[in-house]
């Protein structure tokens, strides 16, 4: 066990998987000598060299689509895109090919690649650097979507993602990169890509969040000083969704708040509410509340903190649900 931040945990997972499996290669802009814009791949080029840690031309479609070909032919490319907004050109190849090659080839080919995306806002970055695009990925058949929230689960989830036979979009909560440290085992471990975690048990209300919102949720709830018995769920994987954990919890508490950083309309939170509606409607004692970003472009840093759900808004939603 060592105390690590999220960057270190992911770096270690990459290193260990690359040592273990020579078909794992890293691809992306500036992932080599430079170690990536967030320094996540630091030291790996030095250890594994040019043919395993590959600086690509500046071309996101090229990265993902060439990686698809590589994956079909026996490699395990772990690709990186620098910021959320630049992953959008990849949706075409993700939808039309990565998520579909298994089907298109009648199961004869599959596409074991990982797309790592530093996810969300809160680091005072430039325009297009802070979006939350998980809806786009979760709506694509054939893709898995993973959203770690801290160093420990990031390491185990990344290992599972790399070993998974299907394309995995791996959303790294960029505001958490260096914000927290946790005990992380040096040895390798997997966290399955179909399990949510009940971070804290409770009986009054369920609060569901993923990625960077976990931290905000926990901080918010701390401020409530035990006023309510709150069950906190960290989804970890968005597709497939661990619906049992969600539904069992809501059935138990009867109340729920969903926290999502993305714009409200058609956000992933809507899917959670639809699922709850379908499987636990009768248990609900109040409408599920969504705390979300707004249906507006992610603001530049001067205003981003007004956009991103914060403790105040989360606790207001909890109060609304509790006092319904």
């Amino acid at each position: 066990m060592t105390r690590m931040n999220l960057v270190q945990a992911i770096n270690l997972a990459l290193k260990q998987e690359m040592e273990r499996d020579s078909t794992v290669v890293l691809m992306g802009e500036d992932v080599g000598k430079d170690g990536g814009v967030f320094r996540v791949t630091e030291g790996l080029w030095q250890q594994f060299g040019d043919s395993r840690v590959i600086d690509t031309p500046l071309a996101e479609v090229g990265i993902i689509s060439v990686a698809i070909g590589m994956a079909i032919a026996g490699m395990k490319p772990v690709t990186e895109v620098q910021f959320d907004g630049f992953s959008l050109p990849m949706l075409d190849q993700l939808y039309n090919h990565a998520g579909r090659m298994r089907k298109r080839s009648q199961g004869k080919y599959h596409v074991p690649l990982v797309l790592r995306i530093p996810h969300g806002g809160g680091i005072r970055a430039l325009e297009h650097h802070s979006e939350s695009l998980e809806t786009f990925f979760t709506h694509i058949p054939g893709i898995k979507v993973v959203a770690p929230s801290g160093p420990y689960n990031a390491k185990g989830l990344l290992v599972s993602s790399i070993r998974d036979p299907d394309p995995v979009v791996f959303l790294e909560p960029k505001r958490v990169y260096r914000a927290i440290k946790e005990e992380v085992p040096e040895e390798e471990y997997e966290i399955p890509l179909n399990k949510a975690e009940v971070v804290q048990e409770g009986s009054d209300i369920t609060v569901i969040a993923w990625g960077a919102m976990q931290k905000i949720v926990r901080e918010a709830i701390e401020q409530l000083n035990g006023k309510y018995s709150i069950e906190i769920i960290d989804l970890l994987t968005l597709y497939p969704l661990d619906r049992n954990t969600v539904i069992d919890s809501v059935k138990k508490t009867g109340r729920c708040v969903v926290v999502q950083e993305a714009p409200r309309t058609c956000g992933y939170g809507a899917e959670l509410i639809a699922t709850i509606n379908e499987k636990a409607l009768l248990s609900l004692e109040a409408p599920v509340q969504r705390v979300t970003g707004y249906d507006v472009p992610m603001p530049l840093p001067k205003l981003e903190n007004y956009y991103i759900p914060d403790a105040t808004r989360i606790n207001k939603a909890i109060e609304t649900v509790m006092s319904f």
């Binding site: 078909t23 290669v25 043919s51 590959i54 690509t56 031309p57 071309a59 479609v61 090229g62 689509s65 060439v66 990686a67 698809i68 070909g69 590589m70 994956a71 079909i72 032919a73 026996g74 490699m75 490319p77 050109p89 075409d92 190849q93 039309n96 090919h97 298994r102 089907k103 298109r104 080839s105 009648q106 199961g107 004869k108 080919y109 599959h110 058949p141 054939g142 898995k144 998974d164 036979p165 299907d166 179909n194 597709y239 497939p240 969704l241 619906r243």
Partner: protein, 352 residues
Amino acid sequence: MPKNDIRINFELFQILNEDGRIVNTRDMPQLKNDDIKRMYELMVLARVFDDTALKLQREGRLLTYASLQGQEASQIGSAIALQKEDWFVPSYRENGVFIARGHPMDMLYQYWAGDERGMDKLDSINGLPVAIPVGSQIPHAVGIAWANKLLGKRSVAAVYFGDGATSKGDFHEGVNFAGVFQVPCVFICQNNQWAISVSRKKQTASETIVQKAIAYGIEGVLVDGNDVFAVFKVVRDAVERARSGKGPTLIECYTYRMQNHTTADDWKKYRSEEEVERWKQKDPIERLKKYMESEGIWDENYEKMVWDDARTQVSEATRKFESVEPPSPLDMFKDVYGKLPPEIEEQRKDFE
């Protein structure tokens, strides 16, 4: 202003001219008579397959179909220039390539009848399935070639696409990667002069397609796409170049789409009868036939045998295609993930 010294003259490489005479003996590949016959027989087979497909479509037994007529030399010449271990990455018009690689014709019909099972078993011939989104398959070939290089395999990847595809970003990003990483990939552009109703001239202001190679610092070759010897020679050389680590090549096969774009199209709306007529004179099959006749390896008997044999094979394929059981609706839920997620499991149950 700057005194740029720019000269871009890609010779249209030809071995067999339109009259069926060898105009370039030096480059004529050493082919046994049987090799040449094989070329001819495959081209005829592709033509019969194609004609039958058009008929089947008119009868409503195929949904739509993209004819390769006029492009037989480009497709067969290139396909047989590949080794078994090499990969081919097609667009949707490469039925000739599929046939030459040994993909069962009945399965091709099956695919064009809207049955995805027609794309099964391509792993046994190192092929990717038909790619409909224009240009999207180009970078896949780059990745396959690159993987082969990294894995120390000798295999080369050949990717097929049209003139229209060169306008897509996927072409650009993919070929640029190939140049930078010097992967063993051969880019085969069948410039058939049309992208549905859009002529080559309206597709790009560059005088040729092949000169786009210059933008990526890779080799480029312009070849008469209706000359099966020239195509064979050029592709084989490019493949061996790639195999020996000398990098990728962009090949422009200058050819023509003699039929409609697909069966949903009507070319009379946008191109002239004269143009089509002119290109009919360049029919790649006729051309090879003339050559073979002058070489004494073609006669009426042989001709009859070849066509009869092709027709027999195609009828057999048609029969097989028509007798195939419809797919199970449950196939929908197959091959989406390695292991079915609970969401889809439930949807599947719901469906049953």
